[in-house]
């Protein structure tokens, strides 16, 4: 059944999103920079290299445990820059407001943007404000674009991962998605899960300064860890083997996922980074990560192998093996 209209799952960050981008968007706008499809585009300007990215934020509700749409709009874009090894410099801020939004509410969102931006040393350079009729929006949508200066000499890219690399993550998975879900109407569960929403540049900087040979980094947002590692496996043409026992998932998140029939590997994070580094540098990276507050719970979760190319496998807790697949884009609420 061909989809001749946009369905919600097209925005899920999984296979349907990829299909839409590859079949409708890229062919009409194709160029070498766009084609790399990394978290940020890498541009050579003057004597330096810069990362450039954009992201839109439609999270509902716009306030959730651990953050709000303003904080998310800074962190998400800053993190996409950081994944390219770029120090975030400037942001643009596009606001789409719904008629009737209390000004006090907007003030609090902009304050949150300011606070988060100051915390990570990025500044809003330009912006735009539009208002749509009541009922045509959901109080507020935000778009931010970001520019950062690339500080690594080695180009980080989803396509640069090699057999022998080790896979690390900086802490518990799936907390943003579950925290937002728990706030949604119609989902009657109470949880103390708090979104991990955080700007990762300071942690990434520490990792890069450790001198380790890092090949790629990804922030596993929509589609979760599964989408991030599947992307890398496909782009680099390598196999990735994860250890279920090593995957950090809190008991509370695990319980919520079981209740809702969700796989924590497919659930969004907003303050996590998956690092692929040379196997011999793993201690260096781990030490660097653990020395930073955002990386205290950092750990090795898997390794990169030659085979099976383009595929992610998971050694399960009972010793079996299964595939980790690109999520198709489940019918999940908007989480970013």
């Amino acid at each position: 059944m061909k989809r001749d209209r946009i369905v919600l799952a097209h925005g899920g960050g999984g296979a349907l999103t990829h299909e839409l981008i590859a079949s409708v968007i890229v062919p009409k706008l194709d160029n070498p920079v766009l084609r790399t499809m990394d978290d940020s585009a890498v541009l050579s300007l003057g004597s330096g290299e810069y990362a450039f990215t954009t992201d839109s934020y439609v999270v509902k509700p716009h306030r959730f445990p651990g953050g709000d749409i303003g904080k998310l709009a800074v962190c998400g874009t800053v993190n996409d820059l950081a994944m390219q090894g770029a120090e975030p410099l400037w942001l643009s801020l596009g606001l789409i407001l719904e008629e009737g939004l209390p000004v006090a509410e907007l003030e609090s969102i902009v304050e949150s943007i300011g606070r988060t931006a100051a915390g990570v040393g990025v500044r809003v350079a330009t912006g735009d404000t539009k208002v749509v009729e009541r009922g045509r929006g959901e109080a507020v949508y935000i778009n931010t674009a970001g520019i950062g200066r690339i500080v690594t000499r080695r180009r980080l890219s989803a396509a640069s991962v090699q057999p022998g690399d080790v896979v690390l993550v900086n802490g518990n998975l799936a907390e943003h998605g579950i925290a937002v879900l728990s706030q949604r109407e119609g989902i009657a569960f109470r949880t103390s899960v708090v979104s991990d929403c955080a700007a990762l540049w300071p942690l990434v900087k520490t990792i890069l300064e450790s001198g380790a040979e890092v090949h790629a980094m990804r922030d596993p947002t929509r589609g979760g860890l599964a989408a991030a590692v599947c992307d890398i496996a496909a782009a680099s043409g390598v196999g990735i083997r994860l250890q279920e026992k090593a995957l950090p998932v809190s008991a509370e998140v695990r319980g919520a996922c079981e209740m809702l029939g969700l796989d924590p590997l497919n659930i969004a994070n907003e303050g996590k980074v998956v690092v692929f580094c040379r196997g011999t540098d793993v201690v260096r990276v781990l030490d660097a990560m653990r020395a930073h507050p955002l990386g205290r719970d950092a750990r090795v979760i898997g390794e990169v192998t030659e085979q099976p190319k383009g595929m992610v496998l998971l050694r399960t807790a009972i010793g079996g093996e299964r595939i980790v697949d690109m999520p198709t884009g489940e019918d999940l609420p908007r989480i970013c």
Binding site: I318, G320, T328
Partner: protein, 356 residues
């Protein structure tokens, strides 16, 4: 864990012949696939999945009826998320929603009732599919709607019960089963005694099983032990939650609102007494009556072998459509669309040899 697996290997060796055990619960399908359990079992023990995923056994005709309702002006269709992408014969709720229909995903039927109260100008239809695990909450919601006199809420009921479906499989000559892994969740409600007729009439061992991988392994060991000892009985592995009689209050609630009826199972056909229909006393909240909706058995996609997969006579990989034209992204059959469907589980977790 290794102890239990070693025990299974030892028992399988002692039995010394090939055996096939069938689970009939979507949660078991997922537990087996997600844990990679099949790869750990001895070569002479085969685990297959039966008609245990409620979405998978829901007839195409039912989805067509749901699509047709969603197209009607003033109707809001509420459903568990799994049904949204299930293809009917021409459309799906996902497509109808994109085209403007009011389709809402809820996590429980009582949420649908809340939506009915909040939207008095809409007729709110809840899609009632599922086994004994979901039926009590649906029954409770219908009773509540009746008590509160909520007139714009109704349930399109296609609920099913497991025991007679298991019997239908045993009567099918193509299906060869040496033991049943009985659903843990369902049995919490129904009690284990419901399956007693299976060993008594058909000589087939049954073990009621919890939903962790380790439960399934333990359950396989218990089934092997029965075969070695040449016994057939209903045993309970999932003793932490299941007893002989089940949850009597939930059973009363089901009986108050629902009555037995014949039901069409996708791929199996009509099985007498295997469904639950809303009693005439609650006809005011029965979508089929309120809207005069009827659905028959509709034709599945040509070439779709979901019926054979559900009966356990075909493994997903042996279906010519599997991972070719039928994928989770573009499912042709119901076993691929539901996350608990056998084909979806195989595709997601076990298609290694195929895709590599």
């Amino acid at each position: 864990m290794n102890e239990v697996l070693k025990n299974v290997a030892e028992l399988a060796g002692r039995l010394g012949r090939h055996v096939t055990f069938m689970e009939v619960c979507g949660t078991h399908t997922m537990a087996v696939s997600r844990s990679g359990l099949r790869s750990l079992l001895p070569a002479n023990v085969r685990l297959i999945s039966g008609p245990g995923c409620p979405v998978c056994v829901t007839d195409t005709g039912y989805m067509d009826a749901a699509v047709e309702l969603a197209r009607r002006p003033g109707v809001m269709v509420t459903t568990f998320g799994d049904l949204v992408r299930v293809p009917g014969s021409r459309s799906s709720l996902e497509r109808e929603r994109a085209a403007g229909a009011d389709v809402r995903v809820v996590y429980s039927p009582s949420d649908a009732l809340v939506l009915a109260r909040e939207n008095p100008d809409k007729q709110v239809v809840f899609l009632g599919v599922g086994f004994e695990t979901t039926v009590p909450t649906v029954a409770w919601t219908i009773k509540k709607a009746a008590q509160e006199g909520v007139g714009n809420f109704s349930v399109l009921a296609a609920h099913k019960t497991m025991p007679f479906a298991m019997e239908a499989l045993l009567k099918d000559r193509e299906v060869k089963i040496d033991g049943f892994i009985c659903p843990g969740h369902v049995s919490v409600i129904t009690g284990a005694k419901l399956y007693r007729f299976i060993p008594e009439r058909y000589g087939i061992p049954c073990v009621v099983c919890g939903f962790e991988a380790v439960d399934v392994i333990q359950c396989v060991a218990m089934l092997l032990a029965q075969l070695i000892e040449k016994r057939a009985a209903v045993e309970i592995e999932y003793t932490r939650s299941v007893n002989e009689d089940g949850n009597l209050a939930a059973q009363r609630l089901i009986a108050e609102v629902f009555e037995e009826c014949d039901a069409a199972w996708r791929g199996i056909g009509v099985i007498p007494r295997s469904g639950l229909a809303i009693r005439p006393e609650f006809g005011r909240w029965d979508t089929a009556k309120v809207f005069g909706v009827r659905w028959g058995e509709a034709k599945p996609h040509p070439g779709c072998r979901c019926g054979d997969v559900l009966r356990g006579v075909l493994t997903p990989m042996a279906c010519p459509l599997f991972a070719q034209s039928c994928t989770p992204l573009n499912p042709l059959g119901p076993c691929m669309v539901s996350s608990e469907g056998t084909c979806a589980a195989y595709y997601r977790y076990e298609r290694k040899g195929l895709a590599a």
